[in-house]
Structures are given as structure tokens and as C-alpha cells.
Symmetry: C2
């Protein structure tokens, strides 16, 4: 059930704004509404008002919500659909789905990055693949992992931005992650780079030694993703990577060095430029991810198990 | 299709020996044959002779092969069923399945640790779970990951023993992994401990500082597994863990410290003794994994997709 002219409502919930799309797919977006993320009560009410208007005027088959996290994604949990222990003030415990049942359509929910990964698999840079990973390096580091066609989910979901990784010899800056200090996000996110450099990442010259540590952190993150979730391709974007064109080639090189010939490493090295790539959907991957989740929820509801 | 009295042939291929089981399940093992792992030609011929004898005398529904790796597991690859780039001398390129087609039954193949994980899910310590991880710390570190009911597979398979992890401050022993030096396996496998300590792990007193580094390495490995594959439980065994009863409690404590309250960490901390556990099937997990792979292959062959 893809792009057959049926409408889906996608809601991407971000830390600063939410994007609502009414669409059949990336080439047929009927409406886009942006809502600032303030308090849960205010923000969720504004989203529901948009959905009500769309339902009255056009109708839709299903709703997809792609949200920042951490999220409770276990449908068997009484907390299903709530934000769990999130660093974003005021949002821990907020239930993203409670107000959506009244629309009477299937509702899909996943993390923003799992949604973006599914969108890249459906319409973008991971078409035709079963196992792949989407990484975004911006205000944080988000990782969405698809394994054999399904988003990784179990006790929670991927939070691989917070992987423990080695430091470059001699580096001792403690890192910016409030939970883990010098995890990948604590060294290579935009705010981490700015905290260490004293200037925004975009103002830091390519030759600055801080970039060596960022490259090392991202390569170690990718090394660990290759060996845990066996992606056939890694899509990596976000403001830090997209804003510094020198970064992606250096991360590719450092990943090949780090894997050092083990297992699938020769296959990766032989084709590194198409193994680590920029996302094809760009900044649309997030909201289109919500549409992909809506489509998946609609499919599940209309197909026999 | 479990334990309905149908016989399955399981072959666990290990670095030093292969174990062949004819069984319906763990409580009904009809025959066990051990074969030393020498050259591919000799070892595979001996395994096929056992299977021929069993097929003539009893018959079996399917064959499962659980092997050391790295393995090519993509059925679309011309190299499907071969060992890829393995450190074990003489075995790179060996085809484990070519001689099995003549038995005319479905053949399942996966890594020894994915097989063991499936066996723990079917009969052992992970019954009832969809997403879980099996870790064995012995001559190497092997990790089998099940995500939403399926073994992780894509470009290759889990090789998470080789994750990049941070060192303890001030430690500079270069590690024993020929590929990565101080990856998890390079610090915490049995041979790595012996290489650093000068004595076998079992002779190293619990208070030796080397154990601090082993605990740190295993906790960082588990931290990274929690945040990449979202296991509902981690089963950890193998000679190093099973032989040192003080190790598992220290790894549990260090994992909780490392996760440091983020995301699912409070849920893990509240129930750490049942989140990180010893495997229930012990040393039988390996050969029973091969039987589980045979059962899965038999099910796929007889059920509609």
C-alpha cells in the first residue's frame, strides 16, 4: 500500500518544532503545518487541531508519529506512547498518542530517526535494502536502525548516539553529554563541538584538531554499528555532517582504518563511497518518516497477520 | 513446529571441534558425535559421513549448521555458506553447505552465537522474549543478537566482540586482537587476559587490576549492545565469565554505572540481576543452537511465506 493516492497524516515531533504533513508520499504532499514545541498540553492540542481540520476536509487512512525520545514503544506497556525519562524539560511522561484515538484510524509510532530510516528505505537512499542505518549528527546524535526490514525495538529502541567509544591518545576534554560525558554524542554533536571549541562548528577551520576527535568519534560509532546491526549501508547526515563537506570523506577513511580488514571490512573498503552516504531525502526525511510510519500502520491494520 | 517428535540434525562447527546432534530438542537427544576440526576437506567429510549414517538409520527433517565465522549468510550471494576472511588458518573460502544438498532436506545456517541465542530463546534463558543478546567470553568474544524474533543479519552478521570501547584512564596495554588491538575481545577474551597477565585467567586473583579493565571492557560492550540492539535481556557466559564467579556481579554493577540513568537505564538498574544473566543452557547452547537452526529451516520450508 504505497502511493496509491491514499492520504496519510504524519507528525514529526522535534525538540524545537513539530512538522505535520498530509501526503500520499514525497511527491504528493498536500499540506504542511509547523508548530513550535512548547509544553506538551499546548503542542499536542495544536497538532490535534491540525489533524481534526484535515480529517474534516480530506480524511486520512492512518496517522504516523515520529518523535524525539526516549519513547516507550512496547504496545503491551501501560506507558505505550509516552516519553520516558527524556532530557527535554516538561516532556517526561507526556503521552503522545492519548489524544489521537478519537480519529478512529490506525496510529504508528516510532522514534524520529527510525521513521527517517524507514522513509529512506521506502523512497530514498536505502531503497531495496533490508538492513541499514540512518545517523543524524546535529544538536544530538540520533541513530535509526532497520534490521531485516524492521526497526530495532526491544527494551527501548536504538540510542546509539550514546555509545561508549575510545578517545584519541592524549585527549582529555570531558565531553558534553550530561549522562555519559565523552560518549559519541558528547564529543561530536554540534553543541559538543561548540562547547569544546568556543565557536560554532561551522566557524571551526577544517584543520582544527577538534575535528580529528570528531572524525574519530564518528568513525568509532560507525565501526560499532557495522559490527552490531550489520547494515548494508549507512546514511549519515544532520547539520554537523551536512554543514562541513570535508567531514564525510574523513569519516569514511577513518572507518575503513578502524575496521582494519576484519570480516566484512574488505567489502566495505572496496565500496566505501556507496557504503557511507548522505541521506537522499535531506531534511524531509524526518516528516516523511512520520508518513512512512502512518503507511506502515495502515498496512498492518488492513492486512492479515 | 517444536518438539513434535520430529528429528533434526544439528552441526555446531567450532574452532577446535565440531559437535553433531540428532535430536528433537534438548530433552530428547538421540545421538551426539564429536569431530575434531582439522582441515575443511577432512572435517566436512567426517560430518557428512555422520549425517549419512543418521539419514539411513533414522532420517531427519532438516539440517542446521551453527558455525564460527565470519560467514557469508546472504542467500543471494554466490559465496553463501562460505567462511569469509576468517582468522582460522585454511578455512577462508571453505563452503560449509556444498556437501549438504545431497541430503535433500532444508538446511539452516547461522553463526554459532546466533544459533546459541535462538536456542536460549526457544528452550533456555530468553524464552518469551523477542529481542535479546547472547554473549560468550572465551577464546574470543562472540555476540548473537535477536531483534524482534530474527537474528541480526545484513552485510555480514554481528561481530560485536570487536567493538571499539574506551580504556580505563592510564591503561596502555595495547590489547591482543590482531585486527583492532584493544577492542573488547582484545582486552577481555581469555587469551587477551593471559597475554596481559602472563598467567591464565583462572590463576589471576580477583583483586588484580587487570580484572578492572576486563570488567570495564565487558560493561562498555554491554552498554553499547543495550543502545544498539535494545535487548530485553543479555545472557553472558563462556569460560572467562563462567570460570570467575566474581565477574558477573562486577559487570552488572559497571553496566548500571555506565548507562548512568539514560533512557531505559533506570528499568535496567531496577532489575539488573535478571537483565544480565548466565545462559540457561550452559555449554549445550552451541550444539542446541544448530538444532534450533534446523527446526527454523524446517519450519520455513513447510509453512507458507
Amino acid at each position: 500500500m504505497t502511493d496509491t493516492g491514499q492520504l496519510f497524516a504524519g507528525v514529526e515531533m522535534g525538540g524545537t518544532k513539530c512538522v505535520c504533513l498530509l501526503a500520499t508520499g514525497p511527491d504528493d504532499i498536500r499540506d504542511t503545518v509547523r508548530i513550535p514545541t512548547t509544553t506538551p498540553a499546548e503542542t499536542l492540542a495544536a497538532i490535534e487541531a491540525v489533524l481534526s481540520r484535515w480529517q474534516g476536509a480530506h480524511g486520512f487512512q492512518a496517522i504516523g508519529v515520529a518523535s524525539f525520545g526516549p519513547l516507550e514503544l512496547d504496545p503491551a506497556s501501560p506507558l505505550y506512547g509516552t516519553l520516558v525519562n527524556t532530557p527535554k524539560p516538561g516532556w517526561t511522561g507526556a503521552n503522545l498518542l492519548a489524544g489521537l484515538t478519537r480519529f478512529g484510524v490506525p496510529v504508528g509510532l516510532d522514534t524520529d530517526v527510525n521513521g527517517a530510516a524507514l522513509a529512506e528505505g521506502r523512497w530514498g537512499g536505502a531503497r531495496g535494502l533490508d538492513s541499514f542505518t540512518y545517523v543524524t549528527v546535529g544538536t544530538g546524535i540520533g541513530v535509526g536502525s532497520i534490521v531485516r526490514g524492521l526497526a530495532v525495538r526491544g527494551l527501548g529502541h536504538s540510542e546509539a548516539g550514546h555509545l561508549r567509544i575510545p578517545r584519541l591518545p592524549g585527549r582529555s576534554w570531558p565531553g558534553a553529554c550530561p549522562f555519559h560525558g565523552d560518549c559519541a554524542e558528547g564529543l561530536a554533536s554540534g553543541p559538543a563541538i561548540q562547547a569544546q571549541a568556543g565557536v560554532p562548528a561551522v566557524e571551526l577551520p577544517p584543520g582544527d584538531p577538534i575535528w580529528e576527535e570528531v572524525v574519530q568519534a564518528l568513525a568509532a560509532l560507525l565501526h560499532n554499528l557495522v559490527l552490531t546491526t550489520a547494515p548494508q549501508r549507512i546514511l549519515i547526515g544532520g547539520g554537523v555532517v551536512a554543514g562541513q563537506p570535508f567531514l564525510l570523506p574523513r569519516v569514511r577513511h577513518a572507518l575503513v582504518e578502524s575496521l582494519h580488514g576484519y570480516g566484512v571490512a574488505p567489502a566495505i573498503a572496496a565500496d566505501i563511497d556507496s557504503f557511507v552516504v548522505a541521506p537522499a531525502l535531506g531534511t524531509s526525511a524526518g516528516p516523511l518518516g512520520a508518513v512512512a510510519l502512518a503507511q506502515a500502520a495502515g498496512s498492518r491494520a488492513t492486512q492479515p497477520i
